[in-house]
Symmetry: D2
């Protein structure tokens, strides 16, 4: 309830970070960079941002990277950075799936930690090779199954571990989207093209792109190990070469059963990752599109809503929460928007440039209005609620 602050992490020097892929315009590259900045633990200092050298250089410039550390290939970056005195300590790999193994290998072999987008690789053979390389390296390998970072996912996992649900029986996980309902890959939409191309994505379409997230989330929260599965995959859109809808029945070790549905052709679903777990003693429900909330029902009791940093939320969620309860994660982005609008205004002012008309931020006038409002409230209340001009 209280909105007491949370101590920031004890300060360590920032980790020097490179990036492979993620050039200008790439959605996931920008996400990785914002994620790396938020808690101020990394400095992005080098990049091989595109497999097209010119685009790589331009992207480096856009990001304000030192041109001397903007590389035309990941291999070049790995070799050079490994030799620098203050070379990168870690690298983010945000390329299409089929590049992950080769790229990661170059860095892991040189002792550079790897933060890699999922799925790991486009086929199991590569995945196993990558595992071997990672196991032999002193460097760490971190896979960005980002949904495991939500505080309430951590909370759910902790509750399962604590036995709040008793022995698990049923796991329902689903991940519907709708953006591939039509054959957008045939009109050249970049995000669709590589995701529906077996050469770049591997054997799985929706299964690889989002099914792996759903599967990972289910395992992360439940701690269960999948034993076997039965699947029915479809490519509903004519001409599509990879699955765009998958129905999977799951059998876990120890007897729990599950279902997994992933789809990219379900109109009305933007990014509907959702997990429900049921055990002998209770049930849990979580939905990614409203991630600050976790529903918990101890069998025979009332359903209750656990909120991030709210009553009954445990330490696993608390240690990865940045803001008080009731402030949805997203609050930070809204706050950042004010800062970024301010930056735009300041930059325009610096250059004497005209400020873009769309830039909006609250000013001292809003502040005066706010204080006047408070004083008018107090004055009206003192006059028994009489109308007071503001």
């Amino acid at each position: 309830m209280a909105i007491e602050g949370k101590d920031e992490q004890a300060r360590e020097p920032r980790i020097r970070l490179g990036m492979v892929g993620g050039g200008t315009g790439a959605f996931i590259g920008a996400v990785h960079r914002m994620a790396a900045r938020l808690d101020d633990q990394f400095d992005l200092v080098a990049g091989a941002l595109s497999s097209t050298p010119e685009k790589a250089m331009q992207s480096g410039r856009d990001l304000g990277l030192d041109p001397g550390r903007t590389y035309g290939s990941y291999k070049e970056m790995a070799i050079r950075e490994a030799r620098l005195k203050n070379g990168i300590e870690a690298v983010s790999i945000v390329t299409p799936n089929h590049v992950h193994y080769e790229a990661a290998k170059e860095f892991l072999r040189r002792g550079i930690h790897v933060i890699c987008d999922k799925p790991l690789t486009s086929n199991l053979a590569d995945a196993k090779k990558l595992k071997k390389v990672a196991d032999e390296s002193d460097a760490l390998f971190i896979l960005t199954h980002n949904y495991t970072g939500y505080p309430m996912v951590r909370q759910a996992r902790e509750m399962v571990q604590n036995g709040d649900l008793g022995a698990l029986r049923v796991v329902q996980v689903e991940y519907p989207q709708d953006w591939l309902t039509e054959a957008v890959e045939q009109t050249g939409a970049k995000q669709a093209v590589w995701r529906t191309d077996p050469a770049q994505s591997g054997a799985g379409g929706s299964t690889g792109d989002i099914g792996t997230h759903a599967y990972n989330l289910a395992c992360f929260v439940t701690g269960l190990t999948l034993e076997s599965l039965a699947a029915d995959l479809d490519s509903f859109v004519e001409g599509r070469r990879l699955d765009d809808n998958a129905h999977v029945m799951l059998r876990f070790q120890g007897g729990a059963k599950g279902m997994l549905w992933c789809s990219q052709v379900a109109p009305g679903n933007e990014n509907g990752l959702r997990l429900r777990v049921y055990g002998e003693k209770g049930g849990l429900e979580w939905s990614q599109e409203n991630p600050n909330y976790l529903w918990f029902t101890p069998f025979g009791e009332q359903k209750r809503l656990i909120t991030r940093n709210g009553a009954g939320a445990g330490s696993a969620a608390g240690r990865v929460s940045r803001i008080p309860s009731g402030h949805p994660e997203g609050y930070l982005e809204a706050f950042a928007t004010i800062y970024t609008e301010a930056a735009r205004a300041i930059n325009a002012a610096k250059k004497g440039a005209k400020l873009d008309k769309d830039v909006v931020y609250p000013t001292v006038d809003d502040g005066v209005k706010g204080v006047a409002f408070v004083e008018a409230c107090v004055a009206s209340s003192k006059k028994n609620g009489a109308w007071v001009k503001v």
Copy 2:
């Protein structure tokens, strides 16, 4: 629908930023810093982080600031930084309300842009003086009414401006919380103490702390100007010196009417800022605790859900959105958590330290499992859904 990326802002050099207040442990200071980092437009390079000099120095160390630019008072910071060649260009003021005016004045007079927490000041006299100083300065003054930064708030505002609601009639805005339901200020809770102290907060309690946000949001979205109000304020908790609940009736210029409720004694409400606007042609509803959604009903038609970057969302929301629809803002924090867990692991590895047992991140094993899952799905589906071991 599509998850195409959004180009990052064209790169400008980062703006050199100082901070007044916001020492270690202060909630709002940490929020300002994260907000400043997210879009990479600012470098925090100086601070007067506490009115207690020792705490100020320690906080500077915690944040990795240059000790030479960690100041014991904002005045000292303003004087010194204004003389430095690469002194701060902007300052964030995140102190209690009663300090805002004096602090802002020092910076504005020296041409340093001010980003200031709300409410503007603790009384109207100070507010007007501050306005005068701001008006006379070449520097900008930005007030962090952060809720105006939400994309769907921008969307709502744009729709009102576009006339989608017709002439406005009724505005309902509310901001209930529950954290002051009991007399926590009497047990020393820091956030409660200054908020309930007239000397630090001014004449308004809940009205100043959250009522101003509600009022600002209503004006921001509707574009209306308040003409008069009638208020009924209470301090329900015994011994509390400022209002903890306020009921206000509003009359806007042009004839629209409204109600505003703010409360800090409403159990079950964490941070329930909510706005509803009704006009001759339609109605809008938005709730801060689920901020990615905006409800719109054109009169006589079905209620529809507008999502950030979803169908029908306009450019005002789009230009301040960072991620695709369906990824709640909060997605970035979850993603950042993975990065920060990685940083912890990397730092522990660097020092040969034992990794804290609570640190969790996906590894190459999770990646292998994911790829194996995809291939098992494909194999099962090819065998007509037969069970396949994973």
Copy 3:
């Protein structure tokens, strides 16, 4: 949780009921009749269903009433029925407001119980006269503030009485609708015409029609007595003679405060009656449009969902519940639809008439399909999930 049955009320002979108003096509008359039938406690045996004698007779025929007991005026009905050996014991009055007093008087004076639609009368003078008549009569007077009949409203009231919320502080009640957003009374819409006519409705428009419900509900649940109010009423639609939007601040005896908003010009609101009550120890929230649920937050604990007949629901709700938890009230209507479709089919069969093509009901074929489905499930599961033809 369990779906054990609920014993029906011990059987009393049905009460003989008459009706004033509520002729064919009147919304509220049909509602009263369905309500009277549901629990089988009444027999509708007489009516003065319209002030237009012909319409009264036709309506009686439509309802299957004995023509000898279909009257042209309520007065005639009162006089005649009071003399009959098996005359009506109770009467439902469902006319416009301004008729209530005169009609009720005729029955109360003759010892006939009155069930009367709200608001009581169209002005306070009539209300007081009616109260006097009712107080002097041996007959009962029941006002159909129907929202007090919801099980979760009873539950809320019981919880307040039990002290689960502690001393009450804040009451928020609202009742927005949108159906009068445009000047429909000027196009002759019957329901709109009398509701916006001072002669028929009295001094209040939205306040009388729905504000009284909101006020009644707030008092019913909280047990509080209103001490004073401050109101701001509007008629937003040009030419409307009664209020269509009202903002009211409330002061209750004992110090609790409240706000009441009622509106018939708020697009997107169908029938949004909603009550929130906050006390020293907890808060409650209930919404009429989703009436099977009550939110309860004991201060400092998790918000929990109390469902009709679910865990923790008390006897006040239980005694007026007809079906198990999870079956929304509405389940009965859906069930009744099957019966009514069956009646249509049976009636058509009886007459050898062609069944209307829109009539739909499940048949033996659906039943065979269902059993085949079960057996196929069992067979597939026994064959380790092999695909089985149905």
Copy 4:
């Protein structure tokens, strides 16, 4: 939007109805009776309400049946009623599943229409025999798959038929409950005992009890025909003889795919029947626990909320709706509660008995308060919102 009334059905004489099973205390029997009464199309005039003759007689008395038409067995009832001049025209069969076939046969053969609870029978052999009898009879056979009676289910079906979703691709249907999470059948809970007994229920547990509803609903709305299925059934509770959880993958004729989950061991789910249907052009979502709403997303457009009798709702829903939009079905029950409380008060008054203290209904005093409230609002508003005593 408007709350105009709906004409009641043109009056036909009520259909004379008998009932088999459904003695005092049986949940589903009472539901059938309320459903039969709601629209006033049936008169319950005979019953064989229990297989225990004494209980049958007592139940008849409780229901106010003529003792001469209260039978000790359904066979006796069928024989006798068929011979009566005004014998029953239809019969409701609400016994456990294994009795359905034999009972239905007796009535169908005698030309008496049968309304039968689901599932049809406890095994496919009986189902086929029953189908044969029904096909050979002139009497109708109606199966109470009651969920098909919800207006928004009719709406969904109509939209699929109209092609609003385009060719269907994916059907997700689920029906989780939690009331069998523990071995309640071993403690004698009546509803649990027969549902988990193969002799009474047949081969399916949750599949028969609720899976058939889910399957029926999916077929009803989509119009699809199931081609084959693959199922994984479990009995999670030790000692349970029938499935309590089922995962089923579905393949429909024409290429659509689906998943069906039913469970009675999923804590936190009361009666969670939910259907989602996706086609080439759009998607639909409906949930039984909030049945007045249907979500519809035309691909590439905003999600919209279709409400019963609201904008865009079609005639299929409209013809089975009883009340205006915004009044959840459930409104009628709340209304009926007022009537039934009135009946209790009237009956107590008749007998000079003391009224049970729990009986609550609004009185003339509430009415006076309501009118006084309206007049106070008007008075305050006329005095510019001054506080007015009530």
